[in-house]
Symmetry: C2
Subunit: 170 residues, 2 copies
């Protein structure tokens, strides 16, 4: 089964968190599951904050990559097209908010769930939860935006995106 | 020169971001500079979001560890005592907010600056900026709290903390 990140163009598939082409990264993969998405990851023993509990920065990273992946998926959905069609969507984070509701135990697999809160033009807001052993320990809200021109490698696909311009794809 | 994290007790010095005893971690070090603090780090080439730009999760981690370190330093200051006195302070993050103002270029050393916004009981709020090449690219606000009992290893120092209880240190 292909993950959302498997549809990222090569130029956009090098993210340290979720880039399938980043050999030194985590290569997290996010999957659509009905109206939400899921990313699963079991932290390494050294990914700690205080012994026994998962590092908050790692949790923020998981929230971040799950959100940008979920946003891309949501953008295709909003245009009623498949993720293997062009031009591709790729989102980056404008603002990240993470609430650590309780300590996240280090050991169990984490389930990170993304939920689309709103889509408005190039901006998609995603709500994220992280659960360990069935209990939600972290809640996040992420404002994502389509990759701005200033971050696009010369070879990367460019707007106009279909459905967001009068000069939609041919 | 000793960093704030050099004063963390061993039980609390294993953080993946800033623990001096975490051999697989970043071992970030935060230094007081007048009324603020500084953490400096040059990301690795693979710490990217999109090629050429620093990964947002890594930036969130830098904000997070700088904030908890700054909070510990602020707590000692509020009690008019040195960081090598007992009992030690150690903060964790309750809520993290990170605004990515502009893309952070990958290459230059990053300067992460922590500023104490407020201290109230066990809660310390820290404002953080990340700069690259003299330009602020990220702004964060972090609500930190003294390590709760639920996260304390059995061997770790415990409250009551001086100045926060009627049974202050002798």
């Amino acid at each position: 089964m292909k993950a959302i990140q498997d549809y990222y163009p090569e130029e956009f598939a090098r993210c340290f968190g979720c880039g399938r082409l980043n050999e030194n990264g985590y290569r997290w993969r996010t999957f659509p599951t009905g109206d939400t998405t899921e990313t699963r990851y079991t932290p390494q023993p050294y990914h700690m904050a205080i012994p026994g509990f998962v590092n908050g920065g790692l949790l923020a990273s998981l929230v971040d990559c799950t959100a940008t992946g979920t946003a891309a998926w949501a953008a295709y959905r909003a245009e009623n097209r498949e993720m293997d069609t062009s031009p591709p969507h790729r989102f980056v984070t404008a603002s990240l908010r993470v609430d650590y509701l309780r300590p996240t135990p280090l050991g169990p697999e984490l389930l990170v769930r993304g939920h689309v809160k709103s889509i408005s033009g190039r901006k998609v807001i995603i709500e994220v939860t992280v659960s360990a052993g069935g209990e939600v320990t972290v809640r996040g809200e992420v404002i994502t935006v389509e990759v701005p021109e200033s971050m696009r490698p010369p070879s990367a696909p460019r707007p106009p995106w279909p459905g967001r311009s009068t000069t939609a794809m041919k």
